[in-house]
């Protein structure tokens, strides 16, 4: 029954892991004070992507539903935040839960028909959603709200007096707080009953149903929660970039997100961070290798990962860690 022990160990953090996390958090708090404002902006976006990736990873990694259209939910979140701030003067921090709620509903609704679609077909339907999204956002009927092709420019939130931070650093900490909250929620969700139901549905849908898991409910809820995470990330991203426009939410955004999930590591929470670092910083590296074809290099990376490291960075670290531990025991 070594398995039992493993499960228990996996479900609670060991002391070493806790110390590691605290150290990581400390680094994350110090980092914005030692780098330039532009780097802070980039790091903030990385955190934003990490939230989105965690959302997509719940759906694709844990629940096995492939989504090639999560950029659409990112767009919805971003637009909800932008419209609320621009048209209704809602304070920026209130738009974040609002975007989450709207995307939860949108994701749940899209998840209902998605129930009948498996694997490839779901990938197809969500791909269509991702491709069609910019057009929907440009639609004349919504132009009054969405600003059409021009999009919406939003004002950068002012940091409160007491913090004494610059705008960029303040936003960094806002996003960091959101990230920690979302990761704690996600971690609790995934290690509990629901998380196991999600994995069971991915691996053995029929057996899961026979064991009394409400497959339909769990699947569409996962879709909703996943969209909620991505939508919150979208809202944060809009506030950080101060601008939303239909063409920044094209199908390549959705592809970027799935790339992040795969590279970071499927069905892994820490993978979201690695994936976010990858999709934020590798395009810069790719730009340096060749100005003309960053996406081609991106694609090659993707192929290499799929052939050589299908469990992503998180899986690779897990394997290396396991080897080291074994060697120490010997």
């Amino acid at each position: 029954m070594t398995n039992n022990k493993d499960v228990i160990r996996r479900n609670a953090l060991s002391r070493g892991q806790l110390i590691g996390l605290a150290a990581l958090l400390a680094v994350a708090c110090v980092l914005p004070f030692v780098v330039s404002n532009y780097r802070v902006f980039q790091l903030t976006l990385t955190l934003v992507y990490a939230i989105a990736l965690l959302g997509l990873n719940m759906l694709t990694g844990y629940n096995g539903q492939i989504s090639l259209g999560h950029g659409a939910f990112y767009a919805i979140g971003a637009y909800v935040a932008a419209i609320l701030m621009d048209k209704f003067g809602v304070p920026y921090w209130l738009t974040i839960p609002a975007a989450g709620a709207v995307c939860l509903a949108a994701g749940f609704l899209f998840g209902l028909p998605a129930l009948r679609l498996e694997g490839l077909y779901l990938a197809l339907a969500t791909f269509a959603l991702g491709v069609a999204m910019p057009q929907i956002l440009k639609y004349k009927g919504f132009e009054h709200w969405t600003g059409g092709v021009m999009g919406i420019v939003i004002v950068k939130p002012e940091p409160p007096e007491w913090s004494g931070l610059s705008q960029d650093r303040w936003l960094y900490f806002v996003v960091l707080v959101c990230l920690v909250a979302m990761f704690v929620i996600g971690w609790n969700l995934l290690r509990g009953r629901i998380g196991r139901a999600m994995v069971a549905i991915r691996d053995q849908p029929i057996a899961a149903q026979a064991m009394g898991v409400n497959t339909a409910m769990v699947k569409s809820l996962t879709f909703g929660v996943s969209a909620m995470y991505t939508g919150i990330a979208g809202a944060l991203g809009a506030i950080v970039i101060q601008f939303v426009a239909p063409d920044s939410f094209n199908v390549f955004l959705s592809i970027t997100l799935i790339v992040g999930v795969v590279v970071g590591g499927l069905a892994s929470i820490s993978g979201a961070i690695y994936g976010a670092l990858f999709i934020q910083f590798i395009p810069n590296v790719a730009d340096e290798i060749s100005k003309a074809a960053p996406w081609a290099i991106y694609g090659v990376f993707l192929l290499l990962f799929m052939y050589l490291m299908p469990t992503g960075v998180a899986g690779f670290i897990r394997i290396v860690g396991g080897r080291l531990r074994q060697r120490r025991m010997r």
């Binding site: 090639l68 081609a296 993707l302 192929l303 799929m306």
Partner: protein, 289 residues
Amino acid sequence: MDVLLHQILSGLATGGIYASVALALVMIYQATHLVNFAQGELAMFATYIAWSLIQAGVPYWAAFFLTVAIAFALGVVIERVIVQPVEDKPILAVVIVFIALLVILNSLAGWIFTYTIKPFPSPFPTAPLFGNRYVSSHELGSIGITLVVLALIFVFFRFTPLGLAMRAAAQNPVSSRLVGIRVGWMLALGWGLAAAIGAVAGIMVAPTVFLEPNMMSGILLYAFAAALLGGIDSPGGAVLGGFIVGVLENVVGSIIGTELKLTVALVLIVGVLVIRPSGLFGKVHVTRV
């Protein structure tokens, strides 16, 4: 009435393009049970090859057939080198590889040929054929070529030993291998054929949508819709689906405006998948418990 007739006829013309791409999708689906997300980009890339050949002074029809041959080779190579290693991996791995192919081809095209929109010549005369008022000769010509391609494919699969071998390999790989069919190569051949059909579709559609690296994304979506509507494992269904979707797109587009054309495809895809996942002519899928 005239307007509607015109809409329907030009719908049939674009429908022919959708039908070709849908047929390419179905061919790969039948052989491997996979949907090739890179099909559109493959066709786009082939069209650029045709464009460069024509720019280099090769006569139109020579460039046409040369491109189809190159696309065929490209399809075979891609299957052998890139797709084959992940063929029996989980579906997600395969989808990721297709997506990687999509972005690589898209980016390469932009890199080599730049993102500026290029006009593409049509082989057909500019004056309408037979003095009709409803349909341009390019539209009529592309319908004609689509039908010829379809007929060739039908004859190939129905009456040649190689076509029979390919069908066998798709239907029952294990038994086919036992009777001496090289299943792996049959799959590669399927990819080559699909790429060649895609190339024809790309060349036929380029004069109307103009040549640029993203020209196929909308068309791919419609082809998905067409293939699903007809039944993803039925070649005839895919062709009929293509024509239906083409007409539907034009008629609906004239009613609600063309800005939401892609949304029509989205609604169609989700609608078909939810209401009748096997499409009009597809086999109903039964899973063994």
